[in-house]
């Protein structure tokens, strides 16, 4: 399979994004742009307490606020059988509005409907709620003791949600015991938040026939339709979900949130459309957070650096409800990828999750489910192992890589890696970054007392959920779909079950269709997000669009081609068996001069089809045979100011292997975006709670997004090992840079600090954290 575009082809062409003229002219149409006649606005009353009984709710003053039309509480919803909604993981439920007590600060307590957004906000402020504070548990390790049971509504009277494990526990324990060398480290991937620039929102209305039209910022519109049918009891044919343009999702717009249910209830109760647009604070404090995994990593190794065993025991903080949105059989997602790019002879991973008085979530923030946590753990631990063995981290990695000839590779934790060439990616990275020169420079600087670090991350992720035999959400198998219709003039439309939030589907999907059918991608329209027109699909998250929907598009296009072949045979006046698809056109076998283009065939399909069925369209529901396994080698070079603790990322190189590239321009953009988010996580971002359960990062002055001033310059390169099972060999790339980069950044900082004896720091690596580490190390040296 070639990795370069073919003449006349569309695959691998750096085509500018078709959707961008709309966006850069401010002509995108987002949920908040939708205004319907008679529309009311919803504001939500939220709890200032992280754990408290609700003594009373007084709505009388709120109802006197001019413009307020209704206020509903948890008791109202409970009476209507809508008090709770199932989380996507399927084993827990979440209060829509608090019933009896609140479990986290900013939890939804009451919903106020008013004529304007301002009146709704005024009404919300006038709802008086009396609370009786209860003991607060913010630490999952404290939750483990069950001294305070947070969820007495559950059958099991414990804060423990689940235990999950994979691998051979006994063999791993034995191998660790007998390993000549051993390292162990608790590695915390802090609680962070996807913080899409457009927060969540919706507009709900019931039309004259009683059918719900629901405009919503959803990454998975079809799943929403089904979930809403389950929650509300409305028949699924009476629900029409429309996701218009979305300003970033990153996993945050996968779950169904209480505000959506309230908007629908309000629209039904009041007989008028209802809009709910959350504020930045509401987004950061109540919608799906990410990570918050405390990972105890142990590696056994030989004296010369060969890994003998890996054990990872994780304590997961899920907040007040188990709303992690993982596939049913995988409560800890794909955490089994924690062996990474390494051929470990024995491995065992286990995760125990707990409730705490924090916002619920645990969503896949720009990664496949829990893959970033796993990747960070193993890539940090590899550096700690190298430090322990006094070896170059590059050599320790190289020594343990899964070799190219081992693919398809069966990992000890259950995955079958499709393809990869880790050695090559590392070699490309070392050459491009100039590793030998950097090492010389570092040696010289260390002699002068300067702190310079080089950090590597040679990660493998698992994406593209997924094969129906393993993966489902709420029982719905995780296939995806495409429907293609070619018009008489050779233009066409493709509809899929996915939903772009900035990934560039309008361009890449068109390129796949154009490549398969020899058409102009500029004239292939892409439509997603409307459940009345798009085929059923599971949506866009966990890097599944290209691996799954991309496969569906290619396969649907091939079905179109099969049908077109019959028409081509008629036009070429030969039997179908004598027609072949060559160089983006149909030709008579062995007679290239006798050919017809797809455009000509399309016209004939409507005008001169002979005995063939008129029209030219097909659909395909693609159930992938396996996941895909993108990988990469990332290198960060940092300088640390010894006096101030400031870290400057001098260089960052990302070498990615995402299989066959559909559009290199979009891939480059995806990598830049993901690296910037990874940079923010590594150095800036954490959702912190104090011991009283107060959320301390409720806005963008306390939860930082990097601007162009802070963001380093990104260098990129690629290696390509096509996925052998994907119809076009693609693996997906949108999430690799977020998965792979945090470890490279942190490894570089720790490498810089290693002459001082610093072995590990948890993210975010803030200036003050580095400064304190340096001062502590110097104090220790002075004492010695």
């Amino acid at each position: 399979m070639s990795t370069e575009p073919k003449p006349g082809g569309s695959l691998g062409v750096a085509m500018k994004r078709k959707e961008d003229p709309r966006f850069i002219q401010g002509k995108g149409r987002y949920v908040d742009d939708i205004s319907l006649p008679g529309m009311l606005h919803l504001a939500i009353v939220r709890s200032p307490y992280p754990h408290a009984g609700i003594t009373s709710i007084d709505i009388s003053e709120a109802m006197r606020v001019p413009g307020v039309r209704a206020v509903i509480t948890g008791k109202d919803l409970e009476a209507a059988g809508l008090g709770w909604l199932p989380t996507f993981h399927g084993f827990d439920k979440q209060m829509v509005l608090a019933i009896g007590k609140v479990l986290f600060q900013y939890q939804e307590v009451a919903a106020v409907f008013a004529e304007s957004r301002g009146a709704a906000a005024d009404g919300a402020e006038a709802v008086h709620v009396e609370y009786a504070p209860l003991p607060v548990v913010t630490d999952p390790f404290a939750a483990r003791t069950d001294q305070v049971i947070l969820r007495p509504d559950r059958e099991k009277k414990t804060n423990h949600i689940y235990h999950w494990e994979v691998g051979d526990k006994d063999a791993t324990a034995r191998a660790l015991r007998t390993s000549p060398r051993r390292i162990s480290q608790r590695i915390w991937f802090q609680r962070c938040h996807p913080a899409p620039l457009e927060p969540c929102g919706c507009v709900a209305q019931f039309d004259a026939m009683g059918r719900l039209q629901f405009y919503v910022t959803s990454q998975a519109p079809h799943v929403y339709r089904t979930a809403l049918a389950i929650v509300t009891g409305i028949a699924e044919d009476k629900i029409h979900v429309i996701s218009p343009d979305i300003g970033g999702g990153f996993g945050n717009k996968v779950p169904v949130y209480p505000g959506y249910v309230c908007a629908i209830v309000g629209a039904l109760k009041l007989g008028r459309p209802v809009k709910w647009i959350e504020s930045r604070t509401e987004n950061l404090t109540s919608t799906g957070f990410a990570r918050d995994y405390h990972m105890d990593v142990e590696i056994g190794a030989t004296d010369d650096g060969r890994m003998t065993a890996l054990h990872v025991a994780t304590t997961a903080d899920h907040g007040a409800f188990d709303a992690a949105a993982d596939p049913t059989k995988y409560p800890a997602g794909m955490f089994g990828i924690v062996t990474g790019s390494y051929d470990v002879p024995a491995a065992h991973a286990e995760v125990d999750a707990y409730f705490t008085n924090k916002a619920p979530g645990g969503i896949a923030y720009r990664c496949s489910f829990r893959v970033t946590e796993a990747s960070y753990a193993i890539e940090r631990a590899m550096d700690i192992l190298a430090d322990e063995l006094r070896m170059d981290p590059v050599e320790v990695r190289r020594k343990n890589f899964v070799r190219k000839d081992q693919f398809p590779y069966q990992s000890r934790l259950g995955f079958t890696y499709d393809s990869g060439d880790y050695q090559k990616a590392l070699d490309v990275a070392l050459e491009k970054i100039g590793y030998k020169e950097l090492l010389k420079e570092q040696t010289a600087k260390r002699l002068r007392g300067e702190l310079m670090g080089i950090g590597f991350s040679t990660f493998t992720e698992v994406v593209g959920a997924g094969p129906s035999k393993h993966f489902d959400i709420l029982g719905i198998k995780m296939f995806d779909s495409a429907e293609i219709r070619i018009h008489p003039t050779g233009a066409g439309i493709v509809r899929t079950g996915t939903k772009s939030q900035g990934q560039g589907h309008e361009t890449t999907w068109a390129q796949i269709v154009a490549e398969e059918l020899g058409l102009d991608p500029q004239n292939i329209m892409v439509e997603e997000g409307d459940t009345d027109t798009a085929p059923y699909g599971l949506g866009t998250y966990a890097s599944r669009s290209t691996p799954v929907a991309g496969g569906a598009i290619a396969m649907a296009a091939r079905r179109v081609r099969e049908k077109a072949k019959k028409v081509a045979a008629h036009l070429l006046e030969v039997g179908e068996a004598d027609v072949e698809w060559q160089d983006y056109k149909f030709q008579v076998k062995g007679v290239p001069a006798k050919s017809v283009t797809m455009k000509e065939v399309a016209f004939a399909a409507y005008t001169n089809m002979s005995q063939n069925e008129p029209g030219l369209e097909a659909s395909y529901y693609y159930d992938p045979p396996n996941m895909t396994f993108p990988s990469g080698c990332y290198v960060a070079v940092v300088d640390v100011d010894r006096e101030t603790g400031e870290v400057k990322v001098r260089r960052f190189l990302a070498v990615d292997d995402c299989g066959i590239i559909i559009n290199p321009l979009i891939v480059e953009g995806q990598i830049h975006g993901g690296l910037t988010e990874g940079f923010a996580i590594a150095f800036m971002q954490e959702i912190q709670y104090d011991s009283d359960g107060n959320n301390l990062n409720t806005n963008f002055t306390d939860y930082l997004l990097p601007t162009s001033l802070e963001t380093p310059h990104w260098e990129t390169a690629k290696v390509t090992t096509p996925s052998p099972h994907h119809p076009i060999g693609a693996k997906g790339v949108g999430e690799s840079p977020n998965v792979g980069s945090p470890a490279a950044f942190v490894n570089a900082v720790i490498d810089a600090l290693s002459p001082l004896g610093v072995r590990h720091l948890d993210m975010p690596i803030t200036r003050d954290k580095v400064w304190r580490a340096i001062r502590a190390a110097e104090a220790k040296t002075a004492l010695a």
Binding site: P48, Y131, P133, T281, Q688, N694, D702
Partner: protein, 168 residues
């Protein structure tokens, strides 16, 4: 007057606030005691108070205007007076909130006879603020809370001083 950072997050960015101070009041301790155990009078000493509704001898509800940084609105507060049998110490519990925020305060004051016809009111208090008032107003909360609590006890002094001026 001093603020003692306490509780909250590990790095001291929490929103638990503690304050202490004293007011010298130009009347004897008996007059001060009668004032600080009167829920109506105590209620009216709250800064920016809009409404006071005495519930009984030890309980008063009050509505106060709150402005912490960009966060502005009304707080509904419930105040409970807890006078000590000794007649020399009064404690108070104040709780309530508004516009999605909440505050829980405890305050106490020793009524000390200065021996010269005046009284020292030695007070201390701590507050936990939650919600937007703590989060959005976090950077100015400390200074604002300090100002408000100082003003409350200064109001006690002023209220008690005013009748004496009249009598003179």
């Amino acid at each position: 007057m001093a603020r003692h950072p306490s509780g909250g997050s590990e790095d001291g960015t929490g929103v638990n606030l503690q304050y202490s101070g004293e007011e010298k009041i130009a009347v004897g301790p008996g007059v001060v005691w009668a004032f600080v155990t009167d829920p109506g009078k105590v209620g009216r000493c709250m800064p920016e108070v809009k409404e006071v509704a005495v519930q009984d001898q030890t309980h008063v509800d009050a509505v106060v205007q709150v402005a912490v940084g960009p966060v502005r609105g009304k707080f509904k507060l419930k105040v409970e007076l807890l006078p000590d049998a000794s007649g020399r110490r009064i404690d108070m519990k104040i709780s309530g909130g508004g516009f999605g925020s909440a505050v829980d305060m405890t305050a106490g004051a020793d009524v000390v006879d200065a021996g010269d016809g005046t009284t020292l009111l030695k007070w201390s208090g701590q507050a936990i603020a939650r919600g937007p008032v703590a989060a959005v107003g976090g950077r100015v909360l400390d200074a604002q809370a300090k100002k408000l609590i100082e003003q409350a006890f200064a109001n006690v002094r002023r209220e008690l001083s005013a009748p004496m001026v009249d009598q003179a």
